[in-house]
């Protein structure tokens, strides 16, 4: 599609339950990024993929968080045993690959986000 799609729009989980969020990148985009926005503060990077391969996972919490991008399927971000502090809006973004020598940045196109509320 022409836009990044994220589902569901809202997700409510009890503490300790699993949460799974989905992202369909723009067709033809090979990079996918996940960001977490807590309380309207800055976006915290979680993980990025180049096609189905993890590109950068330096922001990913070591425990409870996992993510995948499999061929012909939406990408997913899963949180096992959610905690209150996981309540946030999770944004997915996608971009086209560019060469660094192009001296331009591959702007990331963001989806509308999934609001996760952990009670």
């Amino acid at each position: 599609g022409e836009e990044v799609a994220q589902t569901p729009k809202h997700l409510v989980r009890g503490e300790g339950q699993k949460a799974k969020l989905y992202c369909a990148p723009i067709k033809g985009h090979s990079y996918v990024f996940w960001y977490q926005q807590v309380l309207k503060n800055e976006f915290k990077f979680l993980i990025s993929f180049q096609n189905e391969n993890v590109f950068d996972e330096t922001g990913m919490p070591k425990e409870r968080f996992s993510a995948k991008c499999l061929p012909n399927s939406p990408c997913s971000l899963e949180i096992q045993a959610t905690k209150l502090e996981d309540s946030a809006v999770y944004f997915c973004a996608s971009s086209q690959p560019k060469l660094s020598s192009d001296h331009s940045y591959n702007e990331q196109f963001f989806g509308p986000g999934t609001r996760l509320t952990v009670l």
Binding site: V4, Y31, F33, Y35, K40, N41, E42, F43, F45, S48, Q50, F55, D56, T58, G59, F91, A93, S95, P97, K98, L99, S100, D102, H103, S104, Y105, N106, E107, Q108, F109, F110, G111, P112, G113
Partner: protein, 112 residues
Amino acid sequence: DQQVKQNSPSLSVQEGRISILNCDYTNSMFDYFLWYKKYPAEGPTFLISISSIKDKNEDGRFTVFLNKSAKHLSLHIVPSQPGDSAVYFCAAGTGANSKLTFGKGITLSVRP
């Protein structure tokens, strides 16, 4: 350690005037800088970017200036319009396909 800083939480300007949004950064490795605009309940929308090899980039009413020695960039919107009222995020990256590091955003209000 906040590597991208937007020190003013809000800005109010009159329609037709210039809006100047500021951003500072601390990481010398950043080589790309971007501005995003965000409305409530929506994802950020890309506005304009600048590479560290340039000091100015212009796109219509939007101009971004980069001062590498001061580690400072600014977004100029002229003339400002009521539809520009939104939260503006400054972001920076290292490498063309890297993650973005965001500031906390500034809320711009353009008064009719």
